[in-house]
Amino acid sequence: MHTLNRRQLLALGAVLLTPAVRVLAIDNSNTSPLYVSAATTNENTYFLMGFRHDGGRMQPVFKLQLPERGHHIAINAQRGFLVSVARRPGTSLVLVDLATGQLIRELQVPADRHLYGHGVFSNDGSLFYTTENAFDDTTESSGRLVVWAVQGAGSELTLQRLQEFPSGGIGPHELILMPDGNTLAIANGGIRTHPSHDRDILNLDSMRPSLAYVDRHSGKLLEQRFLPEQFHQSSIRHLDVNTDGAVVLGMQFEGDAFTNAPLVATHARGQQLQLLMAPEEIQSQLKQYVGAIRFDTSGRYAAASCPRGNQLTIWDTHTGTLLKVVRARDNCGVQATDKGFVFSSGVGKLAELDLATGEISEFEGAEKLALLWDNHLVVADTGNSA
């Protein structure tokens, strides 16, 4: 694909020198969902962890050491594998066999690109899309939407980098496939960074985040929405979409700490962004930061995790109001379940919120793993009974 640079060689070395995969248990008779999340330990080693949860019991399925810190995981059910996407400014894509929990391969992006931790597959599973930073491009369109082809099978399975399009802005983060199967919604966070400056924000005063809709076949920018000028430092990072095509956005405000800035918004194609605010006494406790956002299975309620504020917030997107706040220390990963939401935390907890009753049930055995769950939690399969 390309010559590895020093940074990438070091990353690759980390994989080669460590026992990359530890398959803990593969139990295909399990009827409970398979969850996957990036995680770390108190010693700052990074892992990808797969587990099931059944009858109040955690069942670890696989645990792989990652070459660098992971972020989101994209699932390709058709081809039976997942891709763990490195957190910015990481450069690795780690492909894992869903049936065996074994590492298939690790890929690197070109030396003048880095990832933003997110990727998504096309509905047929044949194409994969990542958001990337062309960090030496100093224009307002340094964000890239990169198209990869899924090739081969089994141990030969790989991703072939095909082409790239502008993402519609700077600092693209999460991208999601709209229900039409052809349009990608991209959260352009608006933040310019460069690997030579670590994760420093280089354009705080001129940030212009946007929500962009891009045709995944042609790269054509179909629609783009910006925040009001007063909130131009609200970096749009995370997205979800329901079956009606309504999009919900999670933001992180980079301006003054005392500003009462919106952290959640909704959008329907052709309309303006709708900014949602919690009551002031709650909004001020969210510390201007949403780490992940997901619709529930009904597509009406959305959970936005606020790890800095130690809260999981539940929003009614029909009325635009805050429905519920759950205290959850360092909570970030969130995923819809039949009952409501399962959420994970950077202090090692996993729990499920029952939306109907408000009950929270913790996953027994989660903390025994001594893993701190990273930004996102996904469901790789819903179990054999589903």
Binding site: R87, Y116, D256, F258, D330, G346, V347, E364, N375
Partner: protein, 352 residues
């Protein structure tokens, strides 16, 4: 005690073992709350009384002596604030109280811009308490008051511009209101919130969650003062030092702030019975205690004036020594925390 007990992961609500464990966390929390935190907030509220009282009559006689008295009052009130500045949960998060008390660090110099705008408009209506509470945070707190009281031309400016004097009164009143409000909320409400932390659906997940907030208040604040209050000022060399990045460069009490901070951290860590230190391995406590002692000694040995210290190699070296000692304290705390199953946070330190 329960410092090495493995977490019991039975359904917590019905687990007698976990209930007992929660009771132990609760004991520590209430000892800290009653013995350290509520008294510290009460001291802060009391420390602002002379400031609000003296400021109320100040504009009738803007003299050098009265300004000196107000400056002294400011020091006392600031001591009170520095003694609770590390508590970043609970009532301090209400009503933007945190930022209204002190908007710092202010990398974009927004406070100066906001105050210049307010002074130029000179509208007395905005100084009424309810209206003033809605003004920019940059004009409401200690940093704004310090500028009005400790600039080179403060006396002349206050004598010449009555609005400036009225602004001093408004800020002093505001500080008094907030410090009183904090003490009252902790005493009347939040102490109960801490006591009831194990009730489901409350402010905290459980009593352990409260203890983690107290532990964070020590560990993360040690790191914070190292980075914000010393490293930002010291830069890479004496020649490159940024005096005006010091927290209180106008009143030149930045070293005093550090001394008060560290004394407050030490009190929170070890003063109560049982103490917060009891949640960490006993084997790690001597190293932490020694590290606290070393920081306190090196700060005591540092020049009182950071401004003066930065002008001499010896003074700069003394501050650098304090920085190194604070870093060593952080590392000692970090080692101890890593020997437990207590995690202070991961995603909350993130930026993605």
């Amino acid at each position: 005690m329960f410092r090495h007990a493995p977490l019991l992961l039975l359904t917590w609500l019905f687990s007698p073992a976990l209930l007992a464990q929660n009771q132990q966390w609760k004991e520590v929390n209430l000892a800290i709350t009653d013995g350290v935190i509520v008294p510290a907030y009460e001291r802060f509220a009391l420390a602002t009384v002379p400031l609000t009282t003296d400021a109320a009559g100040f504009c009738a006689a803007v003299t050098q002596d009265n300004l000196a008295k107000l400056q002294q009052d400011f020091q006392q009130a600031m001591d009170g604030w520095q003694g609770v500045q590390h508590i970043q949960f609970g009532p301090i998060t209400y009503f933007n109280w945190n930022y209204r008390l002190q908007f710092w660090p202010d990398d974009n110099n927004a406070g100066t811009r906001q105050m210049d705008t307010l002074l130029a408009a000179a509208d007395p209506a905005v100084l009424a308490p309810a209206a003033f509470a809605q003004q920019s945070v940059g004009v409401q707190g200690f940093q704004a008051l310090e500028r009005l009281l400790f600039s080179n031309d403060s006396l002349a400016a206050l004598q010449k511009t009555p609005f400036r004097c009225q602004l001093v009164q408004a800020i002093a009143h505001n500080l008094g209101d907030i410090s009183t409000g904090l003490a009252k909320r902790w005493h009347d409400e939040f102490r109960t919130t801490v006591a009831n932390a194990d009730q489901r659906g409350g402010y905290f997940e459980n009593s352990r969650d409260v203890t983690l907030d107290y532990l964070k208040a020590v560990v993360e604040s040690v790191r914070r003062i190292q980075r914000q209050k010393l490293e930002a000022v010291l830069a890479d060399s004496q020649a490159a030092a940024h005096e005006r990045k010091a927290e209180s460069w106008r009143s030149d009490r930045s070293v005093r702030n550090l001394r008060v901070n560290v004394a407050a951290f030490a009190a929170l860590f070890s003063q109560s019975k049982p103490a917060l230190s009891s949640v960490l391995p006993a084997a790690d406590i001597p190293a932490i205690t020694a590290a606290f002692d070393k920081v306190e000694k090196s700060l005591a040995a540092a020049p009182d004036s950071m401004t003066t210290a930065l002008k001499s190699p010896q003074g700069y070296a003394a501050l650098k020594q304090s920085r190194d000692d604070i870093n060593a304290l952080y590392e000692a705390l970090e080692v101890a925390v890593k020997h437990t199953d207590l995690y202070l946070g991961f995603n909350s330190l993130d930026g993605d």
